[in-house]
């Protein structure tokens, strides 16, 4: 079976490449700055957030570079939220294609996750620049590029698997139950506040704090932050939970999608 999946994947990899490059071309076609927006947009957004939180709300996180703290969380959470939101509608919006030719349907959510993923990798460029510039801003909150950076791709891959899994579930639900488009918007907002993006969980009451490790995004972000901000090896449990969440959601998503994909055509 695995051999079949690999062969199928290979067969359609050219199509997926074409679809991703189409998304890129269409996204930047009419804008003057084009792909530069991929770099500029997160930087500008981050500057707004940084201004609001560090100057207006005077938010600080003990012992770390707040700007880098904020940006790591923001960049990672934005990837998840943008990828799942675009992937959610990917099956519905390709209805004309699905009704006309046979294509494995998983390629629609998958290509969206990969397309947003490439954008995500581009946003890492300004993040690294910020780390280099503000790295030794003040004593005690130093952050610098260290050997543990080699482990960061692990967290990204886990996050990608988790996002693909969620995308498959969401795009599948969206076919049968369109209301999810609105409901998920609200869920994403709640999720934003239940992920420590601009605050640290130490400011929360003890009772609330225990539920955070259940949030997969908390695990991925913590993993990366431990490396970037504290130049330390992430804890074993953090390491394991990232893998478990990534693989688990990927498998659940794939199973649900597989079980329901033949019914899509009647509901589109």
């Amino acid at each position: 079976m695995i051999k079949g999946i690999v062969a199928n994947f290979k067969k359609y990899s050219f199509l997926m490449g074409q679809m991703i490059s189409r998304d890129f071309k269409v996204k930047y076609k009419r804008s003057v700055l084009g792909i530069v927006w991929s770099l500029l947009y997160p930087v500008l957004m981050m500057m707004v957030m940084a201004f609001v939180f560090s100057n207006m709300f005077k938010t600080r996180v003990q012992g770390v570079n707040y700007l880098v703290y904020l940006m790591t969380g923001l960049v990672m959470f934005n990837y998840f939220s943008e990828a799942t939101n675009t992937a959610m509608t990917s099956v519905i919006s390709n209805y004309s294609l699905i009704k006309k030719v046979y294509l494995p349907k998983y390629i629609f959510p998958l290509t969206k996750c990969l397309f947003v993923g490439i954008n995500f990798l581009l946003t890492l460029v300004p993040l690294i620049v910020i780390i280099l510039i503000t790295g030794d801003a003040s004593e005690g909150t130093k952050c610098y590029i260290n050997i543990y950076y080699l482990l960061i791709p692990y967290a990204f891959i886990c996050m990608l698997l988790f996002t693909i899994g969620m995308s498959m579930i969401l795009s599948c639900i969206a076919v049968f139950f369109r209301d999810i488009l609105y409901i998920y918007g609200i869920i994403t907002t709640i999720w934003t506040y239940f992920t420590p993006i601009f605050y640290d969980i130490s400011i929360l009451p003890e009772k609330l704090r225990v539920i955070f490790p259940l949030n997969p995004l908390y695990q991925f972000i913590t993993f990366v932050r431990t490396i970037i901000l504290e130049s330390k090896l992430p804890s074993i449990s953090n390491f394991i939970m990232c893998g478990v969440y990534g693989v688990m959601f990927f498998l659940i998503g794939a199973c649900i999608f597989r079980a329901k994909q033949d019914k899509f055509i009647y509901y589109l």
Binding site: F14, R22, K29, K100, F176
Partner: protein, 245 residues
Amino acid sequence: MITIDNVTMKFDLGIEGTNYLKENLINLLKGKKKKAEYFYALKNVTFKVETGEVVGIIGRNGAGKSTLLKIVSGVMKPTKGKVSVDGAISPMIELGAGFDMELTARENIYLNGAVLGYSKSFIEDKFEEIVEFSELREFLDVPVKNFSSGMIAKLAFSIATIVNPEILIVDEILSVGDIKFQEKSKNKMLEMIKGGTTVLFVSHSMEQIEDLCTKVVWLEHGEIVKMGDTKKICKEFIKTMMEEN
């Protein structure tokens, strides 16, 4: 070779609209049970298309012809029964699937080619031929949204017919574009059908069916009425249709 074994396709007519919570709630309060309404587009259809055969499917509108083609090409899965296809299929059911209006003709050749299952090297090899056939060389780098519908059809046709398929599925001979291109596209399709490949062919033109097919399947309300010799069945079919008028 195509084997269609006891295929039944059942559509649930209740799907549209009952998704709504409100409607379901009202029905629940009124004590109404959701009525199951089904429509059989195909009922126990069984036949074979041998390699090299050109099989025509005839029948009036709504007889299940297009549903059958969609099942053979894999777009839909049958409710019951099995379809097995030996060889690479080229479905010529609807052209231009996956065209992106924002992209140029050049980019769409690659995208649409990929959708149709062509490999990168195949498209690169045949690129010139596609452009030549489509007569759209000057507009290669123009976004397709600025094309007329005739130009889009010409481009789509040129991409779809570039293959030498093992199995060809045709829903009506398409003739698109201006008079000159119509003639050219019709000839191209006839050439493909006559080229010795296995063909499943739906048409309302008895003339074309008689001209091209080695065997005919007559469908009525999703069931096979008759199947076999082209001339004999076409004659009977025409007679039945005329008597109704």
